[in-house]
Amino acid sequence: MLSEICVDKTLSPVVKHITQEKINSYAEASGDFNPIHVDEAFATQTPLGGTIAHGMLILAYASEMMTQSFGRNWNSTGKFSIRFKVPARPGDTITTTGKIDSVEDKESTPSVNCSIECHNQKGETIIMGGATVKLSPQKRMSNA
C-alpha cells in the first residue's frame, strides 16, 4: 500500500516476463483460446506474425499494480479506461508503471486519478490509460 497519497507520486511498478507457456496458462484459466494467442501456425499467417498475449492478461498486471498501491479499495471502487497499443509477445518483459495525476475530494471521499502504462523491453507502449480509485474517507491525504 502507498504510505502517502499525493500528486506525482509514482506507484510501485510490476514487472512480468511473458512466455508462450504463461499465455497458454491464461487461456486455460480464462477459457479464451483465440488462436491468435495459442496457435503459432495460425498466428504466423496473420499481420501480427506470431502469437500475442491476451490483452486481459496484461491488464491483470496493471490491476495488480493498483491493488498493490491501493489495496481492496481498488477491487471495490476501481475504474479503468485503457487502450491496447502494441501487442505483447512471448519473450517480452512487461513493466507496468503508474503515477498519481490528481486527487479529488468528492463528498468527503478522496478519489485518486492515476495514469498507467505498460511497456516492453524495447520501450514500446503496450497499454496506456487511466485508472481511478476511491479511498476510504479516513485515508489521510498528504496534500489535503
Binding site: 480464462s30 477459457g31 491468435i36 481492496r72 477491487n75 485503457i82
Partner: protein, 133 residues
Amino acid sequence: MATISYGELAPGYEFPVTTHEMSSSFISSYVKAVESPDDKYAPPLAIAACAMNAMTGAVSFPPGIIHASQEFEFFRLVPIGTTIICHARVIRKLARSTMHMLELELSVFNKNGERIQSGKATLILPVQRANAQ
C-alpha cells in the same frame, strides 16, 4: 456453445445471460496464470475475464479478433464462492476499410441483483476475416 455468427451481430443484440461461480479452483488457476497474490476475494480482472467469456462463448467470432480498448468499473468486493451473472450487449459495429470494430457493454451482478462490475470492450478484426463470417 456458439449460438450466433459474427456477421449476424448487430447493435442492440443481447448475448445470452451466463452465470459463473468464482470457485476456489477457478480463482486458484487464474491467480497462478496472472502470477498475482492469493486473496479471499476474487480479483476484479478474473470476474472481467468471465464477463468477456459470456460473450465470446456465445458467438462464433472469426479467429484473430483482438482487443483494442477496455473500460471497467468495480463496485464491490466479491468473495470466493460467489455466483456472478454476466450480461453483454453490442453497442456499435463498424466496418472500416481495413478492419471491423465491435463495441460491447458488459454488466456483472451477484445473485442479489447488486452490480459488481460494468465495462465496455472494443474488439477489432482484420476485414477479410470479418467478411468471411
